[in-house]
């Protein structure tokens, strides 16, 4: 791990250099335009300074986004509608609810598929087919329809998150529940273990590594679902709403700060699952 820190830092530094460079390149047109109207000639230094500090740049420089992030998280009260923490919480709660529903549904389906031959043959192909469908496309419809029935707020978004997150869990858990070898299953048989004992003492424990791996994928998918689910609600609250409002009013800095916040959320949640995975597997003696 330590020997890859230097390369990672190099790559990250390269990304920042590219970002600043691209900001100059993309915003130069507007800077020249402004200078032309004011009738002044820009030196290179002035050009760079201007491109890095515009109000509505095509590409905001990293420090502008950082300032915006600082302003909207630390300087604002959490209850304020301008606080990014408030919007993040709206998105995160939908994400977590959808993730929980999706994990439960996924594990349930996986158990059914592993234990019931009819389900294995009839449901499994459809589970796979359901993911080749660009399901996010129906996100607006789910929101509007559920609204018409009288369900609004958290649940519709969570349902979209659930749909996106159950798939990796089903596939991972089916693999995991089937991972015990013939030898181990035979061993359970020689101990006269019942079906439920085999499940609780052999199949479920040995599926844990698979469960955690697929939960990480599911969490990332769930966040995407929640963000897209916020788009058609008319930009009320949440990170998706910040993205949409930003794109309506050309507030690029706001879009980038919402984007980075979403990235940070995803990273933190995945890291959290990773930590739980390490602790659990260690206590189970598997890591």
């Amino acid at each position: 791990m330590t020997r890859s820190i230097l390369p990672i830092l190099t790559v990250v530094a390269a990304i920042f250099v590219l970002w600043y460079g691209a900001a100059v390149w993309l915003n130069a047109a507007w800077a020249h335009d402004k200078a032309g109207r004011a009738g002044v000639e820009l030196s290179f230094g002035e050009l760079v300074a201007d491109t890095w500090s515009q109000d509505k740049p095509k590409l905001p420089a990293p420090h502008q986004v950082a300032v915006e992030l600082w302003d909207t998280t630390v300087e604002k009260k959490i209850t304020s509608k301008r606080s990014l923490i408030y919007h993040s919480w709206v998105t995160l709660s939908a994400t977590l609810l959808g993730f929980a529903l999706g994990t439960v549904l996924g594990v349930g389906l996986a158990i059914g598929i592993v234990y019931n031959r009819v389900m294995d043959m009839s449901v499994m192909p459809w589970v796979i087919a359901s993911q080749t469908i660009p399901i996010l496309a129906i996100a607006p419809m789910i929101i509007v329809v559920l609204n018409a029935v009288g369900i609004s707020g958290l649940l519709p978004k969570a349902i979209i998150s659930m749909y996106l997150s159950f798939f990796p869990v089903v596939v991972g858990m089916v693999k995991g529940l089937r991972s015990p070898g013939v030898m181990q299953l035979d061993q359970m048989k020689t101990w006269n273990a019942s079906a439920s004992q085999t499940f609780w003492k052999l199949r479920l424990p040995s599926s844990m590594p698979y469960l955690f791996t697929s939960m990480k994928v599911a969490m990332a998918a769930s966040l995407v679902g929640a963000i897209v689910g916020e788009l058609p609600t008319g930009a009320v609250a949440g990170l998706g709403a910040r993205l949409l409002a930003g794109s309506y009013y050309g507030q690029t800095i706001q879009i980038w700060s919402a984007l980075l916040m979403a990235a940070a959320l995803a990273a933190v949640m995945v890291a959290l699952i990773g930590a739980i995975q390490r602790v659990t597997l260690k206590r189970m003696g598997m890591a």
Partner: protein, 281 residues
């Protein structure tokens, strides 16, 4: 009431038929018939319950209405298909996957870059990249170019990570053998390492098919000309023309499955030597 009874009857018949088929020895025919019967059962039940419970077509139209709408508006659907899938998704898919493979080959020559780029790439691949859509729409305009750009960004990192991993998958012995043949870097690349990487590359290509369609459709929610699947879905939802929305979803489903199936078939032809393919023959 009759419709609801019919719905339960359809479920019972479908399940019974599948239970019967599942007990037969496993073959290609039963493997295909069981999911088909399951799907048909679901559609028949949907139809029966929507009619029996008098669900408003604003909430959930019955499959027959969707089919009728589909048949009546093939012109619109085709126009949207060309705009979103052919221009947006396919262009972006080819550009993004191509760029990622080239980049992976370049990165592969420098272990330093590889150690740095892989973790960063893995991290970026897990991010909600779809959020880039409004920014790219702002940069590239409302037409298909911005949708292709979103698709490029979405497929790039999963593809890069998979290809870099694939290029490392040939083992020492095989590479040493190429050395004893005095083969050059490029010969080793084309004759050993790229073929060995194919299972990984196709894994990435398969993941990218779904991402490409999602990217192209969602990007249209942030602004598009007056055609395209995402545009049609979001405006028809506003007009409560849900049968048209469902018709678009049927198109998306067919395209998505066909796209994935096409890549899977290609994979079968290219990686016929791989254990996961040999077993199934």
């Amino acid at each position: 009431m009759g419709w609801i009874v019919a719905g339960f009857a359809a479920w019972a018949v479908g399940w019974w038929a599948n239970a019967l088929l599942a007990r037969l020895p496993k073959s290609r025919a039963t493997g295909l018939a069981v999911p088909v019967i399951f799907g048909l059962t679901v559609i028949v039940m949907w139809e029966c319950f929507v009619r029996g419970l008098d669900v408003s077509s604003v909430i959930l139209p019955p499959p027959s209405a969707i089919a009728a709408r589909f048949a009546a508006s093939t012109g619109i659907l085709w126009e949207d298909f060309v705009q979103t899938v052919v221009k947006g998704a396919l262009t972006g898919y080819v550009l993004g996957c191509g760029a990622a493979v080239l980049m992976a080959i370049a990165v592969d020559r420098f272990p330093f870059l590889q150690r740095g780029l892989l973790p960063v790439g893995n991290f970026v691949a897990a991010l909600p990249i779809i959020g880039m859509a409004p920014i790219l729409v702002m940069w590239f305009g409302f037409d298909w170019q911005s949708k292709a750009a979103v698709v490029v960004v979405m497929v790039f990192f999963p593809m890069l990570v998979n290809t870099v991993q694939g290029l490392q998958s040939s083992d020492r012995m095989q590479r040493d053998l190429m050395r004893t043949y005095a083969s050059s870097y490029w010969q080793t690349l084309f004759k050993l390492r790229l073929p060995a990487a194919m299972p990984f590359i196709f894994n990435g290509l398969k993941i990218a098919t779904t991402l490409a369609l999602i990217g192209a459709i969602v990007a249209e929610f942030f602004g598009s000309p007056v055609r395209g699947m995402g545009f049609r879905i979001s405006t028809s939802v506003g007009q409560l023309a849900l049968d048209l929305v469902w018709a678009e979803i049927v198109v998306a489903a067919i395209v998505g499955s066909a796209f994935y199936g096409g890549v899977a078939l290609l994979e079968k032809a290219v990686t016929f030597w791989h254990p996961s393919q040999r077993g199934r023959a």
